[in-house]
Symmetry: C2
Amino acid sequence: MALEHAILVSLLEKPGSGYELARRFDRSIGYFWTATHQQIYRVLKRMEGDGWVAAREVAQQGRPDKKHYSVAAAGRKVLSAWLHEPIEPESVRHDLAVKIRGAAFDDPSALMREVERYRAVHSERLAHYLAGEIRDFTGPEAPGTPDAGRELQHVVLRGGIAYERMTLAWLDDVLATLHRIRERPGH
Amino acid sequence: MALEHAILVSLLEKPGSGYELARRFDRSIGYFWTATHQQIYRVLKRMEGDGWVAAREVAQQGRPDKKHYSVAAAGRKVLSAWLHEPIEPESVRHDLAVKIRGAAFDDPSALMREVERYRAVHSERLAHYLAGEIRDFTGPEAPGTPDAGRELQHVVLRGGIAYERMTLAWLDDVLATLHRIRERPGH
DNA sequence: GCTTGCATGTAAGAGGTTACATGATTCG
DNA sequence: CGAATCATGTAACCTCTTACATGCAAGC
């Protein structure tokens, strides 16, 4: 229900091609909204048909032509209306939580190895976020001028950092719990 | 890809009807895996056809008959295989993060009201989790005998508690940021 | 008499995933 | 010479959401 809106926000921050958008959904926006290029092209086409975005064909040398998209007036209106709608409760799906409860009916050791690998992924992600924060917001290279857009991007990134820190602490708790269970008589 | 597995875990913890499962997906399991009764009935039917679960018709007086489901041997095997698979990175979709970045192109005041309402929802959810923790795990009424299944349920609940606390702190950060932006000259 | 709870489903449509397809350039 | 990057798409399939449907019993 909101891929359209994520695309509108991204195009308002910076207009670009479908391909460029797909790259962003691998990176910054992708941290809180995943989408593949197939999805993006399909939705972008529909949005163009509905007049939410305007496309301009750009001929390139040595590379295929691209369509440069920017947000049209109707798109801004749609986004503004959506921003005023109530925030829907997110529908959660945590494989890991299901697996942890499933571990009661299986050998916990296999899950422990997986949790450790998963922890490493989140540890890397945290390091990546922190590096991005220094590069774009708090480091000496970052622009010092206050700007609403940048500050809002920063607070979203801080949310990601808080999430990763919380997750790492919880995964340690999970590992300790699995360890305790494994060491107990009966296992 | 894992509603089947969530159902298997839930039925292993306690066999029951499709309706009972749907209730659980409103409560405990629902905190980390959402599913509607339509989904559950459909998947349950397929799982029965594949021999993952066994159904027993139970006649009731004053109430419609129900199908009592329990996990069959094939289902246990499927669950065990899934538990040994690598944990997939979750595909995230956070409306709120999109809206925050979108607020750069709109009036922040409307979003602030929504964030406050959203904060109240999470505050209530935290209170609910904490009450459940006391009732089921740490309070004087909770069974004192150590049990792998209960400890794993507890560590998942602790994850939910940590998530809600982190979210509340972040939402305060978001509100403070929106406030700062609104008070600045130019807005 | 109305709402809530118990109990099960069908059907249409929206949304998302996976596989396949093309074609040029640049880098190792 | 092969892989990766840029750039765009189609098609089939699966999953999920939303709306509709039924029917009885208990409590207010």
